[in-house]
Subunit: 396 residues, 2 copies
């Protein structure tokens, strides 16, 4: 008696549940410390102490009706202004509160943008591999997501492949850099080339094609790599951000949309995204945590610790004989499945209590994703398991 | 370049904005203390002190990765169990965590249920007058909301009118008691009669018609009036609750769905509502505030203060010569527009700095809504304005 589209979602959901249950089964059999779970993108390093201090300061200094009450649907004006000024300092921009909508995480923000832009039957593009929930977000509103393969070696997007994929129903391209699941950061010149294609095709079809930049991993960049500010590379960019990873607050559901004033149809897009938040039932981003993050915009989770994990895991799997993309950002390692069968690799890995996610779950068959937002000790303890798994494929 | 449906929403949104701006304009001209704003359903009496204590206890006693981390999409199992046990104590039920999904407010919960149940082209019923956002929620997913008039004197729903309205595309009926905007509480026998109609029509069409009970005002009942527990009156009820009013936490976006085990297709509905939360981008209800409300489930906002406001406002408007439904619950007074033109009454009221909402904004023309979640002093100060307004209609 549930809807047809929900029946499909329920059927697909079982794969995630099966993996979760498999983890619990293995933990019960062998002990949690002997299971090497690389499947979940859940921050391991806790929120910085300043988050707790900020929450306590809000509770001490503000009135309950301010802390917990309604504010404009787009968020507290002072919080939005603080976010804008923080971006201005970092990226040399000139945003104000009018360019910021506080959202229930990045996922909430993305749904607001899609609710705002999409007519049933419209199309959104994305480069594969990609976070598969994007497809569900787009289908919520009767539109379809169309995937374009990335380069099979570099996992960078190809502007000419984008040109070939755009059609008259294309409303937007979702970009995600640093990328989940590959850990790749898209360079500025690649982004500029993508933007140019969309400008040309938008002009050809007589309607803008927006870039929706999903940036939960923006702060997680290593070796001093630049994560280019998308609106400075391309036209018509809407940025969706979340503090889930950068402040280790995934449960709090707090993020923002940044909508530059110079995008096409700016007024309607801002109003539409704000109304979308209201009619989708978000209404506004949670209030106390809005006020708290505004007090620690320059704080961050322990990036150095993720960086150490990155090197440790890369060295561990390559020492065992596997080959992987050396991650530039986010907290994922994209490892090639010997022989190309990612699902078979994940099945075999379970025998060594290694939980990996097949690339097929990201529309990227042939590789597997390892989330290294885990304890460094777990990575060390898992080395022998990777060695044994590699032997099965005669990698050394 | 925004979607067609969003263009309509933007156009309709201007009415709310115009009222908000009118309030600011009058405040600038005459001083905020001389404007009598009855337009907003925003709690006036603050969250009880126990909420702050509970947040501080969570921060002191739990680990940051628990407080701010991901949990199952349906919410912390212990929080869900605590909610279930609280309901069991109050209503003699036998719920467990498996019947509770924590949500981003009641509006978020309603969107999850509708995303779960509705195919494009389906129909949802509601009794008018009603909170008009329901229509937007239903239309998010390509379905339509059909309003059934309530009794024009008692504003109670009529089971036979419901019978006439149900069709083969009817998936659900939204009920809201205590009611916004009328303040009426539906008695048990009326609810049972509605449930019986839906059972019969569901059997006739071969598919259950769910009751979605939107209950943000459950705790706001006066004179000892019972707010019947819907699942004990009718089959196939899904309850959506929010602590926005009962604990004065509207900005925090915290509520729950209660899905009894004996509804038709229970397993799929629970899974579907949980997945809906994920794919709509809510992911989970905000984590810290989940843990906090679980520690003060028996706390409540100052109901006695709302009760005093209720009597004060009713006496004020009736002394001036207006007639109104004596509110049984919620914090709204439903006042008849002399001559039946609610919009004209609101326009005339502005001349006396009185901000009222026309019933037409709730599909209930002929009356106006006054929200008495305001300072008692404002009600007292507004008495002269109501007297002057009444004189224009020669009510005395």
């Amino acid at each position: 008696m549930i809807s047809e589209s929900m029946k499909t979602l329920c059927a697909n959901n079982s794969a995630i549940r099966v993996m979760f249950e498999e983890g619990n089964r293995l933990a019960a059999l062998y002990g949690r410390e002997n299971v090497y779970d690389y499947s979940l993108g859940n921050p391991y390093f806790p929120a910085p102490e300043r988050v707790r201090q900020s929450i306590e300061a809000v509770l001490a200094e503000e009135e309950p009706n301010t802390i917990h009450g309604y504010m404009p649907n787009a968020g507290f004006p002072a919080v939005r202004q603080a976010v804008a000024e923080n971006l201005n300092r970092r990226f040399g921009t000139a945003y104000s509160a009018e360019n910021v909508i506080m959202t229930v995480g990045a996922a909430g923000g993305l749904n607001c943008v899609l609710r705002c832009l999409l007519n049933p039957g419209d199309e959104v593009l994305v480069f594969a591999p990609y976070f598969m929930e994007y497809g569900s977000y787009v289908r919520n509103f009767g539109a379809t997501l169309k995937a374009i393969p990335s380069d099979s070696e570099t996992f960078l997007p190809d502007p000419e492949a984008l040109r070939a994929a755009v059609g008259p129903k294309t409303r937007a391209l979702i970009l995600n850099t640093p990328n989940n699941p590959t850990g790749v950061i898209y360079p500025r010149e690649v982004l500029a080339a993508l933007g140019k294609v969309l400008e040309e095709k938008g002009a050809e079809y007589g309607a803008p094609i927006y870039i929706i930049s999903d940036e939960p991993y923006r702060e997680l960049a290593y070796d001093g790599r630049e994560v280019p500010w998308l609106p400075s590379c391309c036209k018509n960019v809407i940025v969706g951000y979340s503090w889930s990873k950068s402040l280790s607050l995934p449960g709090e559901r707090i993020g923002y949309l940044l909508i530059p004033s110079d995008i096409e149809d700016y007024e309607n897009v801002v109003q539409g995204c704000t109304i979308a938040g209201r009619v989708l039932g978000f209404v506004n981003a949670p209030s106390l945590i809005q006020l708290a993050v505004a007090r620690c915009l320059d704080a961050s989770a322990d990036i150095a610790a993720y960086d150490a994990n990155r090197k440790l895991l890369y060295d561990t799997v390559t020492a065992a004989g596997f080959s992987a993309v050396y991650p530039e950002g986010a907290f994922y390692l994209w490892m090639r499945a010997p022989g190309g069968d990612d699902k078979a690799l994940c099945e075999k890995a379970k025998a060594y209590n290694l939980l990996l996610v097949p690339g097929s779950s990201f529309a990227g068959p042939g590789s597997v994703r390892l989330a290294y937002c885990v304890s460094p000790d777990m990575i060390r303890r898992s080395a022998a398991a990777f060695e044994k798994l590699a032997k099965e494929f005669h990698l050394k």
